[in-house]
């Protein structure tokens, strides 16, 4: 199949375990962040977002944590399933520009 990125960092996780994917962002003034999931050959899928006035936000099986002090974002996936295998990347809204800055992505492999 197609790959969305060569030489991406890879996280291998046993099925049923929790996954943590990390992202460093660049602009301390950014106040909106998104996590995407991208399966091979498909467009990125919006998973969860968070604004800078929050430290944590939970969705269904996913949690996003925001640490503004060190400009770090993480995505936690609970009870990882084979269908979670994909590339995950973060995006930050570039303040005042309409644009978004994207992380390079992490490939998640779920081992049966």
């Amino acid at each position: 199949g197609e790959s969305v990125g060569l030489h991406l960092p890879t996280l291998s996780v046993q099925e049923g375990d929790n996954s943590i994917i990390n992202c460093a962002y660049s602009n301390s003034a950014s106040d909106y962040f998104i996590w995407y999931k991208q399966e091979s050959g498909k467009g990125p899928q919006f998973i969860i977002d968070i604004r800078s006035n929050m430290d944590k936000r939970q969705g269904q099986r996913v949690t996003v944590l925001l640490n503004k002090t060190v400009k770090h974002l993480s995505l936690q996936i609970a009870a990882t399933q084979p269908g979670d295998s994909a590339v995950y990347f973060c995006a930050e809204e570039d303040p005042g520009t309409y644009k978004y800055i994207f992380g390079t992505g992490t490939r998640l492999k779920v081992l049966a």
């Binding site: 060569l6 998104i34 050959g41 467009g43 309409y98 390079t104």
Partner: protein, 111 residues
Amino acid sequence: DVKVTQSSRYLVKRTGEKVFLECVQDMDHENMFWYRQDPGLGLRLIYFSYDVKMKEKGDIPEGYSVSREKKERFSLILESASTNQTSMYLCASVTSGYEQYFGPGTRLTVT
């Protein structure tokens, strides 16, 4: 549910052809974007539009143009396709709350 559609999933064109990639969103969003995605390079912004008939160059506009005649439709045009424009093209649409949603992508091959 936000829906962003792209006119083709796969497209094969010859060098020098004019290529149109269409993107439609059904949520009355003002901001729309065109990106290309290449292995090792990630997502790169080609053009974006923040209103009908308004467009702004992104990071790699050379060889591309865009058209936004109606709010729901944002077209990417390759005036004269070249092999280095072989790529995955992704359209995105943004809500008033800055949530950016992507279409399924068009895999363009220029031979």
